[in-house]
């Protein structure tokens, strides 16, 4: 497979979409985590983000996308990042921390202060809109 020539850069991705997580998506699907995607990575991305992709697979990759520091759990810092990106920083610091606290409160099954993949899946698979919103169309 031509995995050396075709590189899909972050800038191109940025120009394409207004998704607040576009960089994360690029990083998660790129091989070395720097956001530069080969054709294979690109295909991976669209196979995961397609309408046909199974729920569990989507949940797995959603977890990776929201896990900003790649430590295999979503901690408070990751949550803060997510909120800030979602609201473009329009919430005050207290509000952000309150939201993060609430999220941890709701979804953290074992009360260890961070969301593991298991917690995340347990939560996300019940979300009514997850499947309908977590896909990308070219």
């Amino acid at each position: 497979m031509g995995n050396k020539q075709t590189v899909f850069t972050r800038e191109q991705l940025e120009a394409y979409q207004d998704n607040p997580f576009r960089q994360r998506i690029a990083q998660v699907f790129s091989e070395d985590g720097d956001g530069h995607m080969t054709l294979d990575n690109f295909l991976d991305m669209f196979s995961v983000m397609s309408e046909m992709a199974p729920r569990d697979l989507k949940a797995y990759y959603a977890f990776k996308i929201y896990d900003f520091n790649n430590d295999d759990s979503i901690c408070a810092w990751d949550l803060e990042q997510t909120v800030t990106r979602l609201t473009r920083g329009e919430l005050s610091a207290e509000e952000v921390s309150l939201v993060c606290e609430k999220v941890l409160d709701e979804a953290d099954g074992d009360h260890d202060g961070r969301l593991s993949l298991e917690d995340f899946q347990n939560m996300i698979l019940r979300a009514p809109d997850f499947l309908s919103t977590f896909h990308i169309r070219i």
């Binding site: 295999d72 979602l86 999220v103 709701e106 593991s116 939560m123």
Partner: protein, 903 residues
């Protein structure tokens, strides 16, 4: 403890065989039957092996007594394992394989299922090749037949590979890996499946595989073709990506409605209108099919036709045109019967399709009951619509997410705030009072207008406005009341979500009230016409009598029959009702289009082009662009459909008009949305409200069924028009058919069935059945909730195990689990948890009970986790092959199965 795995083994075997039969390899079904048996047997033995090895390890190397042969092999295996442990982890398995291959004894191979899962995929493959070559050699030398064990082993492998192919999509692997894995698995399956058959079977098998491949390809092509055939898919997707899924949901609903109407159109046109046009008496042959003399000169004027009078009124589009002949044409088609049955089946089909789509909608969202626990999490993780590809939409989405966060923060902080509760209450009561006033006023207005229109209809030359007053007033009410309601609702200070529900409910009530007032007024009209019918009947009779018996005509020549246009006739209330609905539909359509043109398009043009020379920013400021009003549009569509259902019995052409309407509005609204609307600020969730719309549609269907059923059951049909003329009631046509066309005993049976003594018990029985089913479903829901709780508890136990195991693994010098594989294990286990079977239910309590106890030492903990795996494997990828198909699982299983390093 020791017998647990044994308990798991037969279960697993059974499940595997089920999975085998589920595997979709069309074309070798007959083969499957035999192979299934074999496999399950094989699974049974392998499962037992695993169980034994588990026991053995638990006992710390104590071999259990067995057959000497097995004992030997297990001892050898044991030695190998011990030897392997000394080697480096990477090369270990491979070398073990080689050693065993070098011995080329098959007994060594019999145990592998246990070992296989420890081996990474590539190695298995290499080993397989090697093994194959040796076995080929042996089979070449030793004759055709492969040994039983080899066969089962290969069979297992093949099944595994097949399963891998089937579940490939679920794996979080990069594409390249998936591709290589898939190719390998496919090649393997292709190669070995053929080898299992003997002689002739091989060729047959190859042929079958070829056909299966072709079939798969064909199915895929056909699937693509089907997707391409879905009408307006591209348009809707385009809208979806610009406006989010909520606006698209309206268009999907519209498309669905179009499909339903198309079916109704096919029914009505195919079974009523076309037979009538082809085989019925032609226009002008009898009075009911002729324009009366008085109307004749104006009958072709456009203004008359536009009101559905003149030639259109006396055409096959309306009830009155049909003749009451029992059969028409050389086919002896029973038109009145067909008319009645189609009228019934229109409702039957609609009911069925609405309920079916409701059911399928609810099936999609099973776990809706407990969403309330995760408000913030859902907002955080699922509120962003990844489909959005438009910066404007994205801006709005950001804004709406921010507001929703703020809203829930406020809700959270001040859930018990409620300042000045009296004022709020007062305002709410006031608002409801105002709205009820509005509703009553609009109802009275419609009643008044309909009454007036009846007077107008008696007068001679009335103006255009007076003729169309009813429709205009109804449309205006529909246009102006919803914004008025919204303004009043601002008083109430509800949460927007609740406010939206109220708003929808109010608009629904308005529409419904208007429709029913309209119907009541129409019913008055109908009764009036019915009371006049007798006099008209007499007049007709006397006219004909006088005509034929008048003096001054040559008696020898029979008089030519009176020209049908000259025969006096009744008012035919059915056609009048049909025309009323037809007009309402058309005017509704026109008002919708004009609203879109004026309200959306012209406004957008004004805002866009006058912005250059205006004193404030028009785009951001006051007029701005219009939003797409989803709820209003959906409600409009639903009520329109209600009118179609009501009117289609009396105006068969109405469905045709509606199909045209939906078609044009699809294109027109798509264009209008894309050209002149902006995305929403407040997001109206599509996934939830879909069934809400369907529920409304069902309600409207029921409500529109009532008047039609009433008219059919209790009003006498007109005496001189329509397919049921001359009968006492419309449904007499069924009795007539039963009496004349069926054998007498069937008639007797029907008469017996219609006996109230039988009907009342039947209804009672139905009620009992409903009650019973309801209680059953309730108890099932309770059981479901309990199971969910159990899963939750199990999950927590699992998790505590894992944390202990994780620490044990760090100690384990041979292996360091990578984070990803650990996660994957958890992922797998979650899946197991959610698909927990009731069969394994009995085991959960003692697992829970054992939980804290077993977590004391690392070794015992790992044993208890191994136990979980055979107990509740997910039914999707069933038992045995799991170890090989899931590398992460094998990693954990391996570490779990190994005896603690200290021993």
């Amino acid at each position: 403890m020791a017998h647990k795995p044994e308990l798991g083994a037969p279960q697993m075997a059974a499940r595997t065989s089920v999975a085998c039969s589920q595997l979709q390899f069309p074309g070798d079904r007959s083969r499957r039957k035999t192979s299934k048996k074999q496999t399950s047997k094989a699974e049974g033995t392998s499962g037992r092996h695993r169980a034994q090895s588990g026991q053995k390890e638990e006992a710390g190397g104590n071999l259990r007594p067995g057959s000497p042969r097995r004992k030997q092999s297990e001892r050898r295996r044991r030695q190998e394992e011990l030897g392997e442990q000394k080697r480096s982890p990477a090369g270990r398995n491979l070398e073990g394989r080689r050693k065993r291959d070098g011995k080329a004894s098959f007994r060594g191979q019999r145990v592998p299922p246990e070992k296989e899962k420890e081996v990474p995929k590539e190695e298995t493959w290499k080993q397989l090749k090697k093994h194959r070559s040796t076995s080929l050699a042996s089979s070449a030398s030793g004759g055709e037949s492969l040994s039983e064990e080899e066969l089962t082993w290969i069979l297992e492998q093949v099944e595994e590979k097949k399963k891998l192919i089937a579940t490939m999509r679920n794996k979080p692997w990069p594409m390249a890996k998936k591709l290589t894995e898939l190719r390998e698995a496919q090649a393997f399956v292709e190669k070995y499946e053929g080898a299992l058959g003997k002689g002739k079977g091989k060729r047959l098998y190859a042929y079958r595989m070829l056909m299966a491949k072709k079939w798969v390809k064909f199915k895929r092509d056909f699937g693509n073709f089907k997707t391409q055939c879905i009408p307006w898919e591209m348009k809707i997707k385009d809208i979806e990506s610009h406006f989010g899924s909520s606006v698209a949901s309206y268009f999907i609903f519209l498309r669905w409605m179009y499909g339903v109407n198309l079916v109704l159109f096919g029914l009505i046109f195919g079974l009523i209108i076309i037979p009538e046009v082809l085989m019925g008496m032609p226009y002008g042959s009898i009075p009911r099919k002729t324009v009366p003399r008085a109307e004749e000169e104006k009958a072709m004027d456009f203004s008359v036709l536009w009101d559905f009078e003149g030639y259109i009124k006396y055409s096959a589009l309306f009830y009155g045109y049909y003749n009451n002949q029992r059969t028409i044409g050389w086919l002896r088609y029973r038109l009145p019967m067909a008319y009645f049955m189609v009228g019934v089946s229109v409702f039957g089909y609609s009911l069925m399709i609405v309920i079916r789509s409701m059911a399928s909608n609810t099936q999609g969202s099973t776990s809706e009951g407990e969403n309330d626990n995760f408000t913030f999490s859902f907002k955080m993780f699922t509120s962003w619509d990844y489909l959005i590809g438009n910066s404007e939409t994205a801006d709005n989405k950001y804004a709406s997410i921010t507001t929703s966060f703020k809203e829930s923060i406020v809700d959270e902080q001040e859930s018990n705030k409620e300042e000045n509760i009296h004022l709020t209450r007062f305002l709410r009561v006031l608002a409801n009072f105002l709205i009820i006033c509005c509703l009553c006023g609009s109802g009275y207005l419609i009643y008044f207008v309909v009454k007036r229109s009846q007077e107008f209809s008696k007068m001679q030359n009335v103006s255009w406005y007076e003729r169309n007053e009813v429709e205009i007033v109804m449309s205006l009410l529909g246009m102006f009341c919803p914004p008025l309601f919204e303004t009043i609702a601002a008083l109430e200070n509800y949460h927007p979500r609740i406010g939206l529900k109220w708003q929808l409910g109010r608009i629904f009530a308005l529409f419904l009230g208007n429709l029913y007032t309209f119907l009541l007024a129409l019913m008055d009209d109908v009764h009036l016409k019915l009371s006049n019918e007798d006099t008209v009947k007499n007049i007709t009779h006397w006219t004909l009598f006088n005509y034929y018996n008048s003096s001054g005509w040559n008696e020898s020549v029979p008089r030519p029959p009176l020209h049908p246009a000259d025969v006096p006739r009744g008012s035919c209330w059915e056609t009048a009702v049909g025309i009323e609905f037809m007009r309402l539909t058309v005017s509704d359509m026109l008002v919708t289009y004009i609203t879109i043109l004026l309200g959306d398009f012209l406004r957008a043009c004004f805002v866009r082009f006058m912005n250059y020379c205006w004193c404030w920013d028009l785009e951001a400021g006051f007029p701005s662009y219009a939003e797409f009003d989803i709820s209003g549009n959906v409600l409009g569509l639903i009520f329109n459909q209600g009118m179609i259902w009501m009117g289609s019995f009396y105006a068969p052409g109405l469905v045709g008009v509606n199909v045209l309407r939906l078609l044009t509005s699809m294109y027109f609204q798509c264009w209008a949305v894309m050209s002149s609307n902006v995305p929403h600020e407040r997001v109206f969730k599509a996934s939830r409200s879909n069934n809400f719309y369907m529920g409304l549609l069902l309600l409207v269907l029921f409500l529109s069924l009532l008047p039609v059923a009433y008219t059919i059951m209790s009003l006498p049909p007109s005496f001189d028009c329509g397919p049921f003329s001359g009968k006492n009631r419309m449904y007499d046509v069924i009795q007539e058919t039963i009496e004349n066309d069926f054998p007498t005993f069937l008639g007797k049976i029907f008469a017996f069935l219609a006996n109230p003594g039988l009907i009342i018990p039947a209804i009672l029985l139905m009620f009992l059945a409903i009650y019973y089913l309801n209680s059953v479903s309730k108890s099932l829901a309770r059981a479901n909730a309990q199971l969910r709780k159990k899963i939750q508890a199990l999950r927590e136990v699992e998790k505590s195990h894992k944390s202990v195991k994780g620490s044990a693994m760090v100690k384990d010098s041979g292996y360091t689990l990578k984070g990803s594989s650990k996660n994957a294990t958890q992922f797998q286990l979650t899946k197991e948890g959610t698909t927990l079977h009731s069969s394994s239910q009995s085991q959960t309590p003692d697992q829970k009970a054992q939980g804290p106890g077993t977590s004391s030492s690392a070794g015992r903990t790992s044993l208890s986790t191994t136990k979980h795996i055979p107990v509740s494997p997910p039914p999707r990828d069933s038992g045995q092959p799991l170890p090989q198909t899931h590398p992460w699982r094998s990693a954990s299983g391996k570490s779990a199965r190994r005896p603690p390093p200290d021993n």
